[in-house]
């Protein structure tokens, strides 16, 4: 099944669950869904269209909202399944019950963007060190790190 057929199928069968769908580039379909519909759309894609491989979850800081993109692929097409979550209430549902391999990516999102992943099986920190201060999320756009001037030891 090529990407056009998949696109037709998505537009036909789960039209009511998605906000919009488009073919962004060859073999790439972009699908926007509501936060609440994420799990059902994901389950549909996995069971009906064999999108079993979750490559990664990308977070993007859009200012007012965070965009979370689930990169799913099967043997012909990649779907960029995206949801928006407001900055004031950064919550996303955990997809581990549908795709168990998502756990590390969700933990990374929690570390880097401060998104609260609901029902995550393992909420510990993944990448940041244990004494990293609370409330500092490095990949948010308002987190700035001013590099201090480099001091080379043994200066003349």
């Amino acid at each position: 099944m090529n990407s056009e057929a998949i696109f037709e199928k998505i537009n036909g069968e789960i039209k009511d669950k998605i906000l919009e769908a488009a073919i962004a580039a060859p073999r790439r379909i972009s699908v926007k869904v509501e936060r609440g519909q994420l799990l059902s759309v994901l389950a549909y894609l996995k069971d009906q269209l064999q999108f079993t491989h979750l490559a990664t979850i990308s977070g993007v800081d859009l200012g007012e909202n965070f965009e979370v993109i689930y990169h799913l692929s099967n043997d012909t097409t990649t779907i960029l399944l995206r949801i928006l979550t407001p900055r004031a209430e950064p919550k996303i549902p955990s997809v581990c019950q549908v795709i168990p391999g998502a756990i590390l990516y969700e933990r990374e999102l929690q570390d880097m963007f401060g998104l609260l992943v609901e029902n995550i099986p393992d909420p510990r920190r993944l990448l940041l060190c244990d004494d990293w201060p609370q409330g500092q999320y490095p990949l948010r756009k308002d987190w700035k790190f001013d590099r201090p001037a480099e001091i080379i030891p043994g200066g003349k």
């Binding site: 080379i152 030891p153 043994g154 200066g155 003349k156």
Partner: protein
């Protein structure tokens, strides 16, 4: 499974009487390939101070400081201690002022010794 007994042994015994593959490095040196990316060398006479290399350098290893506003005088500092030897400056320079030499033993006792100033 068609397991043989110690199938690796013939190869090992054959190499017992062969010349080792090791190169005794500080005493013997292998020939460098043509186009090896060693240290960056600048021909200061050709530099026009366009700052393209400063903007393109991924390691921030090139500084060009304008010495006086009226005359076209620059001071260029090449931080060889930060250089990652990618040769992007060689590609970017519009007047071909840079080239790479074949030096690869670049250790120094202090990072300050690696700085080169051109005027």
């Amino acid at each position: 499974m068609n397991n043989k007994i110690v199938p690796f042994l013939p190869e090992l015994l054959r190499h017992l009487f062969k010349k080792p593959a090791t190169v005794k490095y500080p005493f013997e040196k292998e020939a460098l390939p043509e186009g090896f990316r060693g240290n960056v060398v600048c021909d200061a006479a050709k530099c026009i101070g366009c700052m393209i290399c400063v903007n393109d350098c991924p390691a921030e290893a090139i500084d060009i400081i304008r010495v006086s506003e009226t005359e076209k005088k620059f001071k260029m500092i090449l931080h060889n201690d930060r250089c990652i030897h990618c040769a992007q400056c060689v590609d970017s320079c519009p007047t071909k002022a840079y080239h790479m030499d074949a030096e690869y033993e670049t250790a120094a006792f202090s990072r300050h010794d690696l700085k080169i100033e051109y005027k």
